[in-house]
Amino acid sequence: MDGSDALLLARTQFGLNIAFHILFPSLTIGLAWLLFYFRVQYARTADAAWLATFRLWTKVFALSFAMGVVSGITMSFQFGTNWPGFMGTVGNVAGPLLAYEVLTAFFLEATFLGVMLFGMNRVPPWLHVTATFLVAFGTSLSAFWILALNSWMQTPAGHTIVGGVLIADDWLAVIFNPSFPYRMTHMMLASFLTASFVLAGLSAWRLLKAGADAVALRTLRTGVVLAAVLAPLQAFVGDQHGLNTLEHQPAKIAAMEALWHTEKGMPLVLFAIPNEKERRNDYSIEIPKLGSLVLKHDFDAEVKGLDAFEDHPPVAPVFFAFRVMVGVGVLMIFVSWMSLFLLRRGTLPRGWLWLLSGCTFSGWIATLSGWLVTEIGRQPWLVTGILRTADANGTVDAAQLGASLTVYVIVYGLMFTAYMVVLTHLAGKGADR
């Protein structure tokens, strides 16, 4: 069997799995803190409406969490089945980070999730509030470790190489590697934005179905207010993250901007079709010099193009994914601010409720495309400058990979369809009073 087929299948399979997986944590990390907020509000006010809110969104959370757990278990196996060379080379650094995630976060969230979901009538209120807090804390802690590992793969630090194998000599430098603070903040905000649009969007769906529902209107407002604050903040943090990437992974930036040649006073490309063969852009629409201003805060600064790098990622997917992410981000700012403006009358017009419902999963689109930018943008490296993706591939043949990929596609398809059906149903029914 051809080795490149197997590599492509291994990448497709892992990519599919991780893309499917990331949807659910990106919702639950933020949603867990919203649940904690609802739970505290109920403890504070003893208002049955808060309890109903908590109960409804706990169901959404449990469903999403289960989807994340099962696809996450799959990933822990696929590290070994699909990328044995990864652990062979960088296992001494990556391994402990993963182990700490399991030890400090997985058990915590899994155990207290049980208490949070089923324990309300069995434990005193303070313990139930604590359990809700620990679930939220656990999911964020899990994000901390996994983003430390991902950031380290982007911008490795704190290690030495002994006989072709990496050894960590400064764990703080490994964890707090150059891109980690930016990526962590960017991802946490992404998760809160995803959760706030799901909250607002599904509440809008309920209002469309029921006409009037005070509980749904309140959660809609919570989602809109949160999004209106966080969406502009995310634009700022994203810009900072981009400057960090320019410093440490300039080839990724060049691919994001489809800048084929090093240039002074680089234009900002609004749209183009990157032509990999001829190494230029077709049909491009650009604003002169604005690219240099965004990246270097100077109209005439020089920005390194793809020709300056021996290895660079494929340009078109990174270029387009980046534009999708930014586009959705701008849409989120507009929709949340406009909603806030319209809400000053206390309610939203029907058309706008439809729009908000349509934006329910905008966070997923933005997160997935951002993830594509950062992961494809790292290629051909698995760990920047240390290990190439092709060198980490395993020996499992294409036939086995193909067969299991088919099974995964069927199972994921079934799970995702059921998830969407149940979510729509739950949201349509609203909170029981």
């Binding site: 449990a62 469903l63 289960a66 989807m67 757990v69 099962v70 696809s71 996450g72 278990i73 799959t74 822990s76 196996f77 590290f79 070994g80 089945t81 044995p84 652990m87 062979g88 296992g91 001494n92 391994g95 402990p96 993963l98 182990a99 399991v102 030890l103 400090t104 997985f106 058990f107 915590l108 899994a110 155990t111 207290f112 049980g114 208490v115 089923f118 324990g119 009538n121 069995r122 434990v123 194998v165 050894i167 960590a168 000599d169 764990w171 395993g394 020996t395 499992v396 086995q400 067969a403 299991s404 099974v407 995964y408 199972v411 799970m415 059921a418 998830y419 149940v422 149903h425 739950l426």
Partner: protein
């Protein structure tokens, strides 16, 4: 003759032990909830609710032991991890598909109505069975050193069937302790079926393992250790007979209703000890030893983490079992 093997350093030994404990914890804990899943078609709709409710608060934490076990393999024994998981590629994929289906079925069956609910009940059963069977096949392939050939695969398939029996026994004895009335009555009968099934399986694996591996054969059938080693099967047999006796009367004193479950756990521990003895000091039999572990810098930092965190994990797991003690109800939130 055993070949001379290098000494096993302390740190890898500790991690081999930790990995063993995690896998054993997983087998026992997820074993009972997979077993309950496999028993679903034998119960009526209301009983099914109680059965699922008896495991609802625990299954997620139970599966985390699997992640920890495979995580330690990944992190502490990376060379073996690649070999084992690539050799077990297909059964692992089948197990994961099974675990996924049953994991989400917990949520979906609760929220679905009509034929949707029936579908998820069925998928819950199928996922539990597929995961259990695949784990048995993985064990069978692992014991035989992943040898190709029809006979070895047949052996692995039989281990798969035997492990299903073992999990059914765990599930049924769990239900004896966690249910009452007609469901408890049924559980006694289920436990007996599971016991017969598991007796067959354990005999098969015990006989098969020395036959498929000369290394294992030497470790068991040589003097002077043979008489002492025979205590393991003897104790398993005694426990099995005791369980047969306990489950035969269809009634049990409430103060003793956990005995069948813990008797079953003891059988699993003995079988696991026998397996560990057979394999030590290899991680992959005759190929990769425990000493081929990760770098000490990585092992040390993980050992610190484990030593600090593991007591907390055990403590809050115990807390969860205490909170959700008592007989399972039809309504999950009571």
């Amino acid at each position: 003759m055993m070949p001379d093997l290098p000494d096993v350093p302390m740190l890898p030994l500790i991690f081999a032990l930790l990995m063993g404990v995690s896998i054993l914890a997983y087998v026992v804990l997820d074993g009972y909830d997979l077993g309950v899943g496999m028993l679903m078609p034998a119960a009526d709709a209301l009983e099914q609710n109680r059965m699922v409710n008896s495991i609802g608060p625990f299954w997620d934490a139970n599966e985390t032991w699997l992640v920890l076990g495979v995580g330690i393999l990944l992190v502490a024994f990376p060379a073996s991890h690649g070999v084992i998981l690539q050799a077990l590629y297909l059964p692992v994929a089948a197990m994961l598909a099974g675990l996924m289906l049953r994991g989400v079925a917990f949520e979906f069956r609760m929220k679905a109505e009509g034929w949707h609910r029936e579908l998820w009940n069925w998928l819950f059963w199928f996922g539990s069975f597929l995961a259990s069977f695949a784990q048995g096949v993985m064990l069978g392939r692992y014991i035989t050193g992943f040898e190709p050939g029809f006979g070895y695969w047949l052996f692995a398939l039989m281990v798969g069937a035997a492990l299903c029996g073992g999990y059914v026994l765990l599930g049924a004895t769990w239900l004896i302790a966690r249910s009452e009335g007609a469901l408890q009555q049924k559980s006694f009968a289920w436990a007996r079926w599971g016991l017969l099934w598991v007796a067959l399986g354990v005999a098969l694996v015990s006989l098969g393992t020395p036959m498929v591996s000369a290394t294992v054969f030497h470790k068991w059938f040589s003097m002077p250790q043979l008489p002492f080693l025979m205590l393991l099967p003897a104790a398993s047999l005694a426990l099995g007979l005791w369980l047969w006796f306990l489950t035969g009367r269809n009634a049990i004193d409430p103060s003793r209703e956990w005995r069948p479950f813990f008797g079953t756990v003891a059988i699993f521990v003995l079988a696991f000890a026998g397996l560990a003895y057979s394999i030590y000091p290899w991680v992959v039999i005759d190929r990769i030893g425990i000493w081929e572990a990760a770098h000490p810098t990585a092992l040390k930092v993980m050992l610190w983490g484990t030593a600090i965190v593991l007591p907390f994990i055990v403590a809050y797991n115990v807390l969860a079992y205490w909170i959700f003690r008592g007989k399972a109800k039809e309504n999950l939130y009571d």
